[in-house]
Symmetry: C2
Subunit: 212 residues, 2 copies
């Protein structure tokens, strides 16, 4: 790791997936190079902000000629760790867990959903989008056999901490947490919370401001 990368502000990190997504779109076109100005108009970020963002990672090449789309896409993908093929399990195969197993964007970004886990006998033993659903009792055994980088948690809030602890003991290092609870961890794992109703509340705030 480049030691400079440690100090990348969270707000810059948050923009990387957007850059990556947009560059993925560009790759499908004939556009081989893009200026920070053109990128700026598409991304709703100033050109100088884009240059500043990229400078955290060495700048990605000559600005006069614009950025090489393929190179930039690959470089940002590597920074995001997408080139590693993150092995991912979904714990909780309810409606949301099953929807996420069907969410094609995940595999497109290099996240390989390997299995789902649940306690509900009506889903255990079935397949969702081709992925097996195992009983929670099989979880520890599975993790001892199969490398697992990331766990997506869509379990009831009261169970989330206990299950996360179990996963951490088995070496899982990344958690995408859909439960409305703040996970307590030892700081040696990474957690991203997705609070769907927070997005809806923020939207409600904005709508209310528009109405007044």
């Amino acid at each position: 790791m480049n030691s400079n990368e440690k100090q990348v502000p969270a707000i810059v990190v948050k923009r990387l997936p957007r850059y990556y997504r947009y560059l993925s779109e560009l790759l499908k076109t004939d556009i081989k190079r893009i200026s920070s100005g053109a990128l700026s108009r598409k991304m709703n970020v100033t050109a100088s902000q884009i240059r500043q963002d990229f400078n955290y990672f060495g700048g990605f090449g000559q600005q006069g000629y614009g950025y090489n789309v393929e190179y930039l896409h690959k470089a940002i993908g590597e920074i995001l760790g997408l080139d590693r093929g993150n092995k991912t399990i979904i714990v909780g195969a309810g409606n949301l867990g099953r929807a996420l197993a069907n969410h094609d964007a995940f595999e497109r970004r290099g996240f390989i959903i390997t299995a789902l886990f649940d306690i509900d006998s009506s889903v255990v033993g079935t397949r969702v989008n081709g992925k097996p659903v195992f009983h929670m009792e099989e979880l520890d055994d599975y993790l001892s056999r199969e490398r697992t980088d990331i766990a997506i948690l869509t379990v009831p809030r009261a169970k989330t901490q206990e299950i996360a602890d179990r996963l951490i003991r088995s070496g899982v290092r990344g958690f995408l947490n859909f439960s409305y609870t703040e996970l307590k961890t030892d700081g040696m794992v990474a957690v991203e919370n997705v609070h769907l109703s927070d997005a809806l509340m923020t939207l409600s705030y904005k709508v209310k401001r528009m109405d007044s």
Copy 2:
């Protein structure tokens, strides 16, 4: 609208749902008052940040005795527009749309899912969590009859803009957009994007940094 509210920074707005959620939890306990210090420890925000945040909205009362939990919960709920009972439709009744219709947290926060819409004959005419699924052809007629504040969009990316335009023409003012596309609007509507794979990519970045 208090004219001061216009200048509330986005980062403060983003914290309001978290305050609201935590206060909802507190309401279930015997705790009637809470200091900014205690709130701070729970929220991972400094006490002075909390006081600054609240000052955008008039401060919410005397700090020496702490905040009145019930009053603060109600006040933040009103700022977020949750007291209005936001009528919400889900456009796209695929896996994700159906999972969201089953997401109880939405109704707990005052979002009333009234209907889903799709073109798939295998779901049109069914009910999801008690809500009817209508055909997209019925959308305009439905909107002319039923007040609709918010639309949750879980439709294929290529269709998103066209459907959003149709909803905007019918007076929908708020969009929770799960499609990987930036909606073009006239600026008179509010949009919150939920890019699930962005959260996963950000997580991948963090895991990669931990490993190195």
